[in-house]
Symmetry: C2
Subunit: 678 residues, 2 copies
Amino acid sequence: MSDRKEFRDLATPEAARDAIAALDLAPEPETVSLSEARGRVLAERIDAAIDVPGFDRASMDGYAVRARDTFGADEADPAELDLVGAVHAGATPEVVVEPGTCAEISTGAVMPDGADAVVMVERTDELREHEAADTDDPDRIAVRTSVAPGDHVMSAGADIAAGARALGPGTRLTPREIGLLSALGVDEVPVRGRPRVGIVSTGDELVRPGEPLDPSRGEIYDVNSTTIAAGVSEAGGEPVLYPHAGDDYAQMERLLRQAADECDLVLSSGSTSASAVDVIYRVIEERGDLLLHGVAVKPGKPMLVGRLDRGGSEGTDDETESDDDAPAGSSAYIGLPGYPVSALTIFRTFVATAIREAAGQPEPAAATVEGRMGVGERYGEGRLRLMPVGLLDLAGGPAAESPAGDASLPLVYPVDKGSGATTSLVEADGVVAVDPDTEYLDAGERVTVQLFSPDVRPPTLLGVGEDDPALNRLLDRLDRPRYLPVGSREGLRRLRDGVPDVAVVAGPTDREVDSVALGGWTREWGLVVPADNPADVDGLGTLVDRDLRFVNRPTDSGLRRSLDEAVDALAAERSVPRGDLAERIDGYQRTVRAFESPVRAVAAGDADAGLGLRATAERLGCGFVSLGEQSVVVRAAPDRADRESVRALAAAIDAIGTEEDGLLDGLAGYSRNSRNEP
Amino acid sequence: MSDRKEFRDLATPEAARDAIAALDLAPEPETVSLSEARGRVLAERIDAAIDVPGFDRASMDGYAVRARDTFGADEADPAELDLVGAVHAGATPEVVVEPGTCAEISTGAVMPDGADAVVMVERTDELREHEAADTDDPDRIAVRTSVAPGDHVMSAGADIAAGARALGPGTRLTPREIGLLSALGVDEVPVRGRPRVGIVSTGDELVRPGEPLDPSRGEIYDVNSTTIAAGVSEAGGEPVLYPHAGDDYAQMERLLRQAADECDLVLSSGSTSASAVDVIYRVIEERGDLLLHGVAVKPGKPMLVGRLDRGGSEGTDDETESDDDAPAGSSAYIGLPGYPVSALTIFRTFVATAIREAAGQPEPAAATVEGRMGVGERYGEGRLRLMPVGLLDLAGGPAAESPAGDASLPLVYPVDKGSGATTSLVEADGVVAVDPDTEYLDAGERVTVQLFSPDVRPPTLLGVGEDDPALNRLLDRLDRPRYLPVGSREGLRRLRDGVPDVAVVAGPTDREVDSVALGGWTREWGLVVPADNPADVDGLGTLVDRDLRFVNRPTDSGLRRSLDEAVDALAAERSVPRGDLAERIDGYQRTVRAFESPVRAVAAGDADAGLGLRATAERLGCGFVSLGEQSVVVRAAPDRADRESVRALAAAIDAIGTEEDGLLDGLAGYSRNSRNEP
């Protein structure tokens, strides 16, 4: 791999941008029907081919007259004109308005020959020669106002005339432009093509969503292909997903060259393995042109930029494409990092812009928001840091009342679970670009957040703490909440540090954090066992005394705290050291993440007992040995308690147990706690 | 029509909103594939059905070890472990890590039994028993660091565990949510249905774009149907266009009832004629429920809100629908005003919100912008005024340098051509809601603009003045310009009043306006005649002396000013009063809108001569009798001359006539003016 040496120095982010900008992604313009044109961008100027309106058009209901015949007329001294007929919208006039006459006319109708103005019907009276025959059409019209030539007439071409510039190239077609094009009779329009973007994902372990997964083989669902495909669509491109490639050179080469033939840009993504990257690297080197390998940015260091030669897919299984059709030249190629948040970050920062540019789509204004740091954060990588961050929309609270100051800006906090967690995708809302020279961002400092999508809307409520099925239902009733199930203990710590609005705390706690209790509920917890309790577990003692496999929860969870108290009590009862007792429970250290996880292990036969809730045990068809009840309390940060979203949460908690509520329906072992008795 | 009396008092806008909010537009949820899910809104909560990852997963390339075996190891005193095999991503481990051993492992691979941590490859050395055989696999690994259980391992469910809440109901699906759903293996999702919105347009005069138009019958293209259909799509609904209905009761009833059966909401729009409105009114009264007729808002007073009974389309030509399928209940109905800008305004203000609500889509943040009035405007209608306004983005200029103050806000100016002009659709960017009590908005006052679409981006340059083919090309080279071809004279007036950046002035002018000349060009003008000049026109005198039909331009245009000067000169030469001379030209008062219009009249045989440019005459295959040259000068408002967009325009003008430019290529009679010789 000595040929990589030329890229030993990482490229600057600017050089990466320049290299990508130099790639030609722009496809040929195409013609689409007007009904499909919304959101597309005009490829060329559209001039009006016809006059609009195409005729002198009455713009009021009334009478078409010769203006001269009305000169001097007023309420006291109306002009009387012979009524010679009527003209309706959508009909050819069959009358001529001679001096001293008029014709009834409807809005939108063609002005009859001779007439040059319209008198509004409200300024006229019908006159009849025979008073009795008042159902007949009138013979004469009294005009009680004078009009000038052109009054209430839109002359031909007055809206837009044939030959006039209607819409310029680069115009994005929104409903109103579609309206103007309709007025011009245009039913198909030349628009900028959407760049075709091929997505090749690598890694033997990847499986498409919907297909069966074998975790024992280390299979995982492919996240990057679908995420990036959606990002390509959003940026105005047309994504093309290719089948997965393993780490095999021949297969990878065939796929990349097929994608190059069919697409304007090829993205590879998905693999975190060095060998897959090596294979791609070799294909680009041998069958294309590698422009850049490695960028001084975190994440994204291993980013590749290059070109892939076209005309390479003749030798594939698909022989239907003749040589004549083989596209010339090369397609652009960009290799994205493997972790989902990193891939989306690099896509968002470097690639989406290039696709938008090629599609003629401007960056939406909503794609970037200002915020202020909720915590201080230290840096020291010496390269551009694209820091994933979550946002909290603080509008709708006392803090927002200060006039347009920083206090009303969304709160920004770093989100970095590392290790390729896919949940970071939805726990972060975008990235903050932190300059290599920046060593520290202070709490309160103003930052610009590039949202992962212009459609991302920051949550209005941020909660942290215990996971709980009743809480999940409660969250469903709120508008745009975000909840991070970090456990009761960690939840309280974060509440103290000032970012979240609320923490949800279950069971006993040794942390004292200044907060306002919003109320809560009580849940029954204990040991979950297989249906009908085949091992006759009757309490913690059974686990200590018998050889049963147990599954626990982490020490951060409220369930675990209650369990530890029960272990303490049993140790005291038996007068043995607590540690000895715990040591004798097989699996006491085997902790799993979520409240359902131990129950699922029991249900799957992977354990004989697990720590859990009666509600979960019943839902998943397991047996349950009660060890007690614990309260779940929702605590708000004191300075957030009056925010609209927190008040909405408090109101939802207050309603628990009322007649129409039903939050706890079907949750066995759950009961209400009022706000005053948490 | 006495039954309309109950609605004699106009409803308040709030009552109209309440009435619309009370209509039930929300369709049933539906299931869509993940690849189609972008932009849709989750109908219910999605909990994780699987653990992600589904296994304990190595998060680094390195060696899987028992952590205990590494305790105490460091650079000076490495732990040596027997290498027993390798595990790759996507493969089932075939080794067990017993005490004192390790296995090579790739990122993403399944942790083999026995191992509980990974040592990064960078902290290890390969050891070989036989030094010579360095191509063989090593036998032992030196571990130069100690690791704790779980280090560089993502345990099963650590990202998200089965049973955990993944995404809440109401979540809008952007690329990142699609990523998380992929990780969970979800390939189809329950989403909020898109309300089906039927659009019935009325008026015998309406023709669908793309079909032939007969202006002599007063036909015009249907603008509202396509505009509103695009607006419905944008708001998250699914538009259904119905064939045009005339003003016939039976036909209208059939259409409306068919639409009610098939849609959640029916909109009628298009007609400005009172009779069509009457017909709709009767159908709703007899076959539905009229909730509201008339709202105290301008435009939009005649708005109708009601319900249409379903089950009404059995008697139609389409008998394929059985009675069993006939939907029960009623669909919602809203009648929009007829003028395009009014229809879009009322749609935007009252209807789009209801469709978004039914679709579960929040109003995009980009749909509203703050601005400041560029001119003062007086009101006095006593009802809510939804004032169509244009915007000018003043960013990128000296004014924008003040820190986030009002000076950097877009300039807002009223646009109201009235009379149903479709060009107002693209000359206005949105509406400002002016309270009934507001009598005056001052220049500089801050206002909120509801954009016609979240995709609307305000122009960066606003020009007014003469229309000209070279100018049209010049505008194509700029980014988001807006140009209003109001004529030279009116252009100068508007420049003086302070809204536009530039005015384009052709020929002589009697207005002195403080401005900066950016340069321009010269164009040859004269009389356009049929090809080969059959009437032997040799100048203005021919028009005066012979019975020829002439077509003129309005007095605001620079061409007309030059013509009037030529008439003056001829009058002086012949020693006759100017008025007499003009009077003797048949059609001197017959003015048409755009620079091509007189030429088109000549080309169509509707005139014997017209006022125009040599370039236009040549392009449309007409003859041309030159009367002179006139300069076209682009003048900037002094306080705008340094704005980025104005400097870009000046640079483009400076480049005219340079080697690579080509702006004037093929424009007969055009030549360059430098900035210094306007």
